[in-house]
């Protein structure tokens, strides 16, 4: 198994009473809540944390993309990744965004990813997503075109990387006379591609298709759902006549590890609950604009009635395995058990979340890197490459 340090770069100085006046930390929350002086400090702290992961021996660092919110200050992930590309030496850099449908010209992604891949000598992992529903409110892109634009942009970018240019690209949303991307990817034929998702049979079927075999990354879901979707990927692969490797399966999860179970729970509680109840807060209409999900999936959501933004506690997310928290022994045991049962090969841990301050983040990173990673490297044995 490979170990990655993921950062969402939240605006941790957010006035948490914002929700007395606003129903979301996204899109409609005025940016007067953002103080650039505090932001300057946060950005540099978070970049230090990402660089520290390189020194602690993680296999990779992961940056992300979201727009117009206090949840994560990384609207343009290439800036974050660019800053890291020279300051880190060993880690893979996974850009998990680029939200392809938001772009008027997806060749921007082909270019920024190949620049990163060339500068780092092949340490880039390319993440392709549709973005969450809120992005379509933030960016004005039509959510009803989300799937169509994603697939077309994907085809354009991967062809730009693997075919000799110039060639003419003819699509419904994009039509370019000259596709001739300079630089070409350092990794040949192209960088590994990861597909983060909150769980979708359509996405799994597409990612597992033999010409792609992309790494499917399950983000922030209960462990029972993780098991279901990983199994689905394996079955789809079998249906295509091949066996999925661990390298094709990844899990992204917040983790907090401290000296004892009790200390871990006490230290993490306010910060994970702020993450859940303050930073993730948004109404259903913002999260799921029309067309973002298929009508069938939307029907399921309407029936479930549950909306994101309901009050959650540290206990509810720990019970569901959406948050792993405890002593090194507890965390080792849980992760080992899940890995053995479910068989993912990439573990992306969010070791800073919500308002978790710098000193606790560092402590979390150090204990995780020293007391959890080496044990799991040993026990989960199987070595995997960095993706399809």
């Amino acid at each position: 198994m490979k170990f990655y340090f993921m950062h969402l770069m939240p605006y941790a100085d957010l006035d948490l009473d914002y929700d007395k006046d606003y129903n979301s930390a996204w899109i409609t929350l005025p940016n007067s809540y953002y103080d650039p002086k505090k932001g300057h400090v946060l950005y540099n702290r978070y970049l230090d944390e990402l660089e520290y992961a390189d020194q602690l021996g993680f296999d990779g660092v992961c940056v992300n993309e979201h727009h117009q919110n206090a949840y994560g200050l990384m609207p343009i992930p290439a800036v974050t990744a660019g800053a890291l590309s020279r300051r880190t030496k060993n880690v893979k850099i996974a850009v998990l965004g680029r939200a392809l449908p938001l772009l008027n010209n997806p060749l921007v992604v082909a270019e920024e990813f190949t620049m990163l891949d060339n500068i780092t000598g092949g340490r880039l992992i390319a993440g392709f997503v549709r973005g969450i529903g809120a992005e379509y409110h933030a960016w004005g892109v039509n959510p009803a075109e989300s799937h169509g634009r994603f697939h077309e942009a994907h085809d354009l970018i991967t062809r730009a990387w693997t075919e000799t240019g110039p060639f003419h690209f003819e699509g419904k949303y994009y039509d370019f006379e000259y596709v001739n991307t300079w630089p070409r990817p350092y990794q040949q034929p192209r960088p590994p591609i990861w597909i983060p998702s909150q769980g979708s049979s359509e996405t799994i079927d597409w990612a597992a298709e033999p010409s792609r075999k992309y790494t499917y990354l399950q983000t922030f879901t209960p462990v029972s759902m993780l098991a279901k979707y990983m199994q689905m990927y394996k079955e789809v692969a079998e249906g295509y006549g091949y066996e999925a490797t661990e390298d094709q399966l990844g899990w992204s999860v917040p983790v907090y590890v401290a000296e004892t179970d009790e200390i871990a729970r006490r230290e993490a509680k306010p910060h994970i609950e702020n993450f859940l109840n303050k930073f993730l807060r948004m109404p259903k209409e913002m999260l799921l604009p029309p067309g973002y999900l298929s009508l069938k999936s939307m029907m399921g959501v309407m029936k479930a009635k549950s909306a994101i933004g309901g009050q959650q506690t540290i206990d509810t997310v720990m019970e569901k395995g959406m948050f792993i928290c405890g002593s090194p022994a507890t965390v080792r045991e849980k992760l080992e058990q899940y890995q053995k049962e479910i068989g993912f090969g990439h573990l992306l841990t969010l070791l800073q979340f919500g308002t978790l301050p710098a000193e606790l983040t560092r402590k979390n990173m150090e204990i995780y890197a020293k007391e959890v990673i080496p044990y799991l490297r040993e026990s989960t044995g199987a070595t995997v490459a960095a993706g399809a």
Partner: protein
């Protein structure tokens, strides 16, 4: 008057129609919430006119055709509908997004039209006038904002919604987004060509419309040659429901005046 319900295949799209009454044709183009039921105002109009109520492609029980990308596609589709039924001297009545489709149709070809009646139509932008974001409204807010008299909203909200109706609500919302998410509920090119409409036009607006502000009415009327603008007091976005008698009277009176 009894009405018929039937499906016609036009431009490759299975389209659901309701049709009742006799006289001059009156083609009613619905708004974002579709046209599932034969409503009292349709019944009242059918006493004088041949009332034809389609569900737009992508809405309700009609198909979602592959060719449907933008509002102009619906405009051309309804020109096909007029040809398909062999209609002439059509009184084209459009509500909200349906009013937008009606204008898009009329700037393309209004030779089959006798009158054009636009009820709080979408379609143009007034710079600086901020529209409410219908896509961030909850289902309850949506219903409440449609009406001035909240007893209408209470009545709607008290009705249970079964799975089939829920699916129609989601489908209508999806197609509304497809047609109107960006640019939001207008076509920047439409305003440039509204002067081509030579059909006598009535613009109707509920004075307490919370979905599309009343301010659009006079601006729109000024862009269509000879258009008349009228407002309905104590009325929200759906005068045909909230003030059905007044609405039917104004529509009928306008059609009679035009015919004279």
């Amino acid at each position: 008057m009894p009405f018929r319900e039937f499906t016609e295949t036009i431009a490759g799209c299975n389209t659901r129609f309701m049709r009742g009454g006799s006289g001059q044709p009156l083609l009613f183009l619905h708004g974002a919430n579709g046209a599932a039921a034969w409503l009292p105002f349709m019944e009242a109009l059918s006493e004088r006119y041949d009332v034809i109520v389609p569900e737009h492609p992508g809405f309700g029980a009609s198909d979602m055709p592959d060719w449907l990308d933008n509002i102009g596609d619906l405009a051309f589709f309804y020109l096909d509908v007029i040809d398909h039924f062999g209609l002439s001297d059509v009184n084209l009545v459009g509500q909200s997004i349906g009013g937008w489709v009606a204008m898009e149709l009329a700037v393309r070809n209004d030779t089959s039209l006798a009158s054009l009646i636009l009820n709080a139509p979408r379609g143009i932008r007034i710079p600086g006038l901020r529209k409410p974001d219908i896509f961030l409204w909850s289902p309850e807010e949506t219903v409440r904002n449609l009406f001035h008299d909240q007893s209408f909203a209470e009545h709607v909200l008290a009705q249970p919604i079964d799975d089939e109706q829920q699916m129609v609500i989601l489908k209508n919302r999806l197609t509304t987004a497809k047609l109107a998410w960006q640019p939001r509920l207008y076509n920047p090119d439409l305003e440039k060509w509204l002067h081509r409409i030579s059909t006598p036009t009535l613009v109707l607006w509920g004075e307490q419309d919370k979905v599309i502000q009343l301010e659009y009415g006079p601006v729109l009327a000024s862009l269509i040659p000879g258009a008349i603008s009228e407002t309905l007091p104590d009325c929200g976005h759906l005068p045909q429901v909230e003030k059905a008698d007044d609405y039917v009277a104004r529509v009928s009176r306008f059609i009679e005046e035009v015919a004279r």
